[in-house]
């Protein structure tokens, strides 16, 4: 069995298909490589291919008019991206960038349609994938819209240094801050950038220094 065939067998899209079915799909798959930092998809452009990450990782994100980045997801081996524009025919809703050297397996939109017609099981699998995607995005919308995460991250930082009484607090990863703020790691990353832009903190490699305690408190109050 080829590496590609073996990979496709374990992709959620093609779960439950027999070997003959996977082999027929395998013929429609093409390879695409991308180097670290290379843009694989650009938000707003039209896309014609669905991609599966075979090796490496891809960051899917949106960029604001001011250039701020919000990560929507990190796509790991076996997972797909660009599903939405393939199925609704619209432009790419987000950009995608290779986080390192990446190998992708792509399928053209027309071929996907043929696969769906010929293999009804794939339709159910796709619904499953898209439903999970919607659930993840709804959770992200909730975090970004209602939770005032920036204020909570500010509060966490403030409390870690004992409200200014202690010079140095315990060490926390972004994942731990996310768990404490009840949000996703992606949102913490953006909150830290926003706090740095406010002049409240300075991120220096693995150190977060509260440079303006009053500014940090203002963010806590405004966002509470």
């Amino acid at each position: 069995m080829t590496v590609q065939l073996d990979f496709l067998k374990n992709v959620l899209y093609f779960s439950g298909l027999d070997l003959a079915e996977i082999e027929s799909i395998d013929k429609l798959v093409f390879e695409k490589s991308a180097e670290r930092g290379e843009m694989v998809l650009l938000e707003g452009e039209s896309a014609t291919d669905l991609y599966f990450v075979a090796s490496g990782a891809v960051k899917v994100f949106k960029t604001s008019a001011e250039g701020k980045e919000q990560i929507l997801s990190i796509v790991r081996p076996g997972e797909s991206f660009n599903d939405v524009s393939i199925f609704d025919g619209g432009p790419n809703p987000a950009s995608a960038r290779a986080m390192g050297p990446v190998l992708l397996y792509g399928i053209k939109k027309n071929d996907i349609e043929a696969i769906l017609r010929n293999h009804p099981r794939v339709v159910l699998n796709v619904i499953n994938v898209l439903a999970s995607r919607v659930r993840h995005l709804v959770s992200l919308v909730e975090d970004l819209s209602f939770k005032h995460v920036i204020g909570r991250v500010a509060k966490i930082l403030f409390e870690q240094v004992g409200g200014g009484q202690m010079g140095r607090g315990p060490r926390l990863t972004q994942q731990e801050m996310a768990a404490m703020a009840g949000t996703a790691r992606e949102v913490v990353g953006r909150s830290l950038k926003a706090l740095e832009e406010e002049g409240a903190i300075k991120v220096d490699r693995n150190r977060i220094v509260i440079t303006d305690k009053e500014a940090l408190k203002r963010v806590m109050e405004v966002s509470s």
Binding site: G56, R168, R171, Q174, N206, R207, V209
Partner: protein, 66 residues
């Protein structure tokens, strides 16, 4: 001595994704396990932590006040 990301070898499943995304070459795979080489090139981008599906890599921040 530059501090480097931490690895929990019990959680590491040896997928190697962190090695692929590391832009400074600080991470290598030795016998299906991640090894970290100390380097000043590591700018604590935390991409290795972000891609790790098992939570085996941690990039903690020291929090202090001026």
């Amino acid at each position: 001595m530059a501090e480097m990301p931490g690895i929990d070898r019990e959680k590491c499943d040896g997928c190697g994704l962190c090695v692929i995304v590391c832009h400074c070459g600080a991470l290598t795979m030795v016998d299906k396990s991640i090894n970290i080489i100390e380097t000043v090139e590591c700018d604590w981008c935390t991409d290795c932590e972000a891609v790790c599906a098992t939570g085996a890599i941690s990039c903690p921040f020291e929090i202090s006040i001026e």
